[in-house]
């Protein structure tokens, strides 16, 4: 967005370098600001660094540079305080544990209990989102069980609450994983391939949910592989390759046939279908 200048709202990554051990996967990458109400999708080939970028924003890998949320620096923040603002959903799914879906979501809520948002407000409030954060205020006081069940219900899987994770399918565990991310109602949602194991119906359920989360004032960023899905639901797309952001723009601007051939090495046509959304059609390799 073009706000720049005085307003420092949203999530901004500036010249971050991130990696594992001694190896840098991202160097000198900047992104944002990602604003409240926006859904940003990270796309790109395998090993482009999408997961690493999300982890860097979430403070889960070695990262230098600056990641600011509404002006507050997140790099170097202790895990407890960072988790107050940022939820991260890992790409891997919760294991085949003898733990019910409800308990799994409860653990996300109770592992590190957070103070009610109304107290932590101040530094991260920007006028626009305050109204929506306010609606969370009552939920912070509700029983944890009820909050966990609400999160599961929003993903359409309340009926699975009492099922052990070990008895769920991959897609169902992915939905539980998502419920773990939204249950605390943090300002930033970072989701690593939240739809990779979902059927068509639940892809739509999740996309609608994420749009609603954005409209409630949250900042949403996620990794997807399905470019048509991205074009249909994203406000912005960041296209990554080899640890660099090749393009960050609206779907129309980011997803061009030339760029896709350059990044993926695949010939595609990008067409606008009758309802106005973009469709990426694969023609072949090269």
């Amino acid at each position: 967005m073009s706000s720049g200048g005085v307003s420092s709202g949203g999530l901004v990554a500036e010249r971050i370098t991130a990696g594992y051990g001694r190896r840098d996967v991202l160097s000198d990458v900047s992104l944002g600001p990602l604003s409240s109400g926006e859904v940003t999708m990270l796309v790109g080939p395998n090993a482009a660094g999408k997961s690493t970028l999300l982890r860097a924003l979430a403070g889960l890998v070695r990262v230098s540079g600056s990641v600011r949320l509404d002006g507050q620096e997140l790099v170097g923040l202790p895990p407890r305080r960072r988790a107050r603002h940022v939820a991260f959903m890992p790409q891997s799914l919760p294991g085949s544990l003898d733990l019910t879906a409800l308990e799994a979501v409860l653990s996300a809520l109770l592992a590190v209990p957070q103070p009610p948002r109304s107290e932590s407000g101040g530094s991260t409030d920007d006028g626009g989102s305050e109204g929506s954060a306010g609606s969370d205020r009552s939920s912070a006081r509700r029983e944890p069980t009820e909050r966990a069940l609400t999160a599961l219900a929003r993903l359409g899987i309340q009926s699975l609450a009492m099922e052990p994770l070990g008895r769920l399918s991959g897609g169902q565990r992915q939905l539980v994983s998502l419920a773990q991310s939204i249950v605390r109602g943090p300002r930033v949602l970072l989701l690593d391939e939240p739809t990779s194991a979902l059927d068509l119906r639940y892809q739509v359920v999740v996309m609608r949910l994420l749009r609603a989360e954005a409209e409630a004032g949250r900042i949403v960023a996620l990794v997807v592989h399905d470019l048509t899905l991205a074009a249909r639901w994203a406000d912005r797309i960041a296209l990554l390759r080899d640890g660099r952001i090749v393009a960050a723009a609206t779907p129309e601007e980011a997803l061009t046939s030339d760029r896709l051939r350059e990044v993926y090495g695949v010939r595609t046509r990008v067409e606008r279908c009758s309802r106005g959304t973009l469709q990426v059609i694969v023609d072949g390799e090269g």
Binding site: L60, P79, L97, L99, E103, A104, A153, G156
Partner: protein, 352 residues
């Protein structure tokens, strides 16, 4: 996709029912443990009828002074020591399995018991011990000090490479081999008599149990358990992987270190008083998991109770298998625990 409130009520009810069932299970385990403790006190090599021993528990005046002494100052402290050793080892095993994300882990995986054995060997064979410790406590104190020191050594090694489970296990295995080699060296050099004493110690025994050992164990278990329980949700989160737990805001490295300190305290004090009884630390948590699942609100207390129960039964059995003789507790624990464990795994029905 909101669902009708009716469905929510149904789930809340189902959850409440599950919660109650698990609490009932914990209570049942507690009762079973109390029964096992009573049996343990009622049996023994000395010539005291079971009925008399039981009567003596309720009314010490009913026994002769010698019999009352056997019940109150020999059997009861030994039985309590067995129970508490079981609880300590099993609770620390549960924590170890969680922080190493490995169902095969036990308190001894990372060299805690090998270090304790080394400490005991030094005291028994070479008379090398912590200065100022009374004679009767030399072996226990040495075992304890070495077990505790091994965890801090492990932690120091982990600092260099981060304390992920793989790193910890690798360093732990290296420590196990190093300590075992040193114990072997001591055995090679020591006298026949010292060797026998050392072997006996390492098989696990309650021969030296008294009110002091029971008291120290009780103190450590009651001090450590609240900290363990306070970390229950963090531990539950950790079962779903480091990255997820960190995303929830858990300082995973700190959690692992605190847990290792608890594990070493529990394992070291247990090993110090009863030698190495490895199996209960592995099987106790598994029994608990089969019964109550992975939610650490229940898993931690259930593990402690399962360990207490198993070791109480094993202690009773160790006095019954060969009439007139007390077999080493470590051996009997495995012989009693393995069939019980297999029966549970094979007969595993729909879990609660």
């Amino acid at each position: 996709m909101p669902q009708p409130a009716e469905a929510t009520v149904a789930v809340v009810d189902a959850y409440a029912a599950l919660y109650r069932r698990r609490l009932a299970l914990l209570a049942a385990m507690l009762v079973a443990t109390a029964v096992a403790l009573t049996l343990d006190v009622a049996t023994g090599p000395s010539d005291l009828p079971v009925a008399d021993a039981l009567r003596g528990l309720l009314d010490p005046g009913a026994l002769s002074p010698a019999q009352a002494f056997i019940v109150r100052d020999v059997r009861l402290p030994a039985a309590l020591t067995a129970l508490l050793v079981g609880a300590a080892l099993s609770l620390s095993g549960a924590e170890m399995q969680t922080i190493l994300n490995n169902p095969l882990a036990s308190p001894f995986t990372l060299g805690v018991s090998a270090a304790a054995t080394l400490g005991a060997a030094l005291a028994i064979a070479l008379g090398i011990a912590i200065p100022g410790v009374p004679e009767a406590w030399l072996v226990s104190a040495n075992a304890f000090a070495f077990a505790l020191a091994s965890v801090f050594l492990l932690q120091a090694l982990g600092r260099m490479r981060g304390t992920g489970p793989e790193t910890l296990v690798l360093f732990g295995i290296a420590l196990v081999f190093a300590f075992n080699a040193l114990v072997g060296l001591i055995q090679f050099l020591s006298s026949q008599q010292a060797l026998q004493q050392l072997v006996f110690w390492s098989l696990g025994s309650l021969g030296a149990a008294n009110w002091t050992s029971a008291g120290v164990l009780a103190l450590v278990v009651t001090l450590v358990f609240p900290f363990s329980y306070a970390a229950r949700w963090k531990m539950t989160a950790l079962t779903m992987g480091d990255e997820r737990a960190r995303a929830f805001g858990v300082a995973v490295d700190r959690l692992r270190f605190a847990s290792l300190v608890r594990i070493s305290l529990l394992a070291a004090v247990a090993v110090a008083f009863a030698g190495t009884i490895g199996f209960v630390g592995l099987v106790g948590p598994h029994l608990a998991r089969l019964l109550v699942g992975e939610d650490h609100r229940f898993l931690l207390p259930a593990s402690a109770l399962a360990g207490a129960l198993v070791l109480s039964l094993a202690s009773t059995a160790s006095k019954l298998v060969v009439p007139g003789a007390v077999l080493p507790l470590g051996i009997v624990t495995s012989l009693v625990g393995v069939p019980a464990f297999l029966a549970l795994v094979v007969g595993r029905r729909e879990r609660l």
